[in-house]
């Protein structure tokens, strides 16, 4: 399973990176391939390519502020949560996505 994500937050710094790190950490635990773009005050880092997006089963986005480049995710399965929710419950989010993914394969 592959996941891509984009994180951002109102203050533009700490929570953007904490959410990204939380997602990466949780994905690693369950062996899921993940790439997370951060849209902080210093601009977008680790930007997703169209290939990354095309190959992803799910897209995880923060919903605290506008995400740049939403059109990239048209037609994809998108999950939107606040940065805080992701930070606190990244493991649960990852578990849920794994379950959904298995369901689809059946």
């Amino acid at each position: 399973m592959k996941i891509v994500g984009v994180t951002s937050c109102p203050s533009g710094v700490a929570h953007t990176y904490m959410a990204a790190e939380a997602l990466e950490q949780s994905a690693k635990k369950v062996g899921v391939d993940i790439k997370v773009e951060t849209q902080g005050s210093s601009g977008a880092e680790n930007q997703l390519t169209s290939n990354d997006v095309a190959n992803a089963n799910f897209v995880v986005l923060t919903n605290d502020t506008n995400i740049n480049g939403m059109e990239r995710f048209k037609g994809k399965k998108v999950v939107q949560l606040s940065a805080t929710q992701i930070i606190e419950k990244a493991d649960a989010v990852m578990g849920k996505l794994l379950t959904l993914n298995k369901g689809e394969l059946k």
Binding site: V13, A14, Y17, E24, T38, G40
Partner: protein, 159 residues
Amino acid sequence: MKLTDKKVVTIETEFDIKSLTKSEAMRELIKKLENKGFVTNYKGFMEDVTKREDTLPTYIGHGIGLPHSKSEFVKRPAVIVGRLRNNIIWNDNNRVCLIFLIAVPKKSNGNLHLKILANLARLLMHDDFRNKLLKLNEKEVQQLMYASMDLNKGENTNE
């Protein structure tokens, strides 16, 4: 390249802080930065940090506060790690026992301030890193911080 190569950012520590309020604790940390020559005017810097705190408190969970400022009262970039004897109220119901105060000169190049913040925010998401911060002594925490702060985390997987 590591963020702390050639000590772009110096790590200071202050453990066993006995303060019971946020402003007391911050004052103690800023005083130390002034004594060590990183901050030129503790009152001025305290005002800058407080202004940012009042707009949006820097509580980031797990009992950690991350106050920061890019200020004209800072001479050289530093992060001071403060460990408190008591849990103090940071904002609302959030209590803090660890403080990372980031001091960056107003004139510093590019987005060093944001890079340090991003770097710390990522590191502090790891349970094992936070546990070490609570257990190690001052010198060990300094070493840990120098070893862990890496600008290219997430972009460079060779490390």
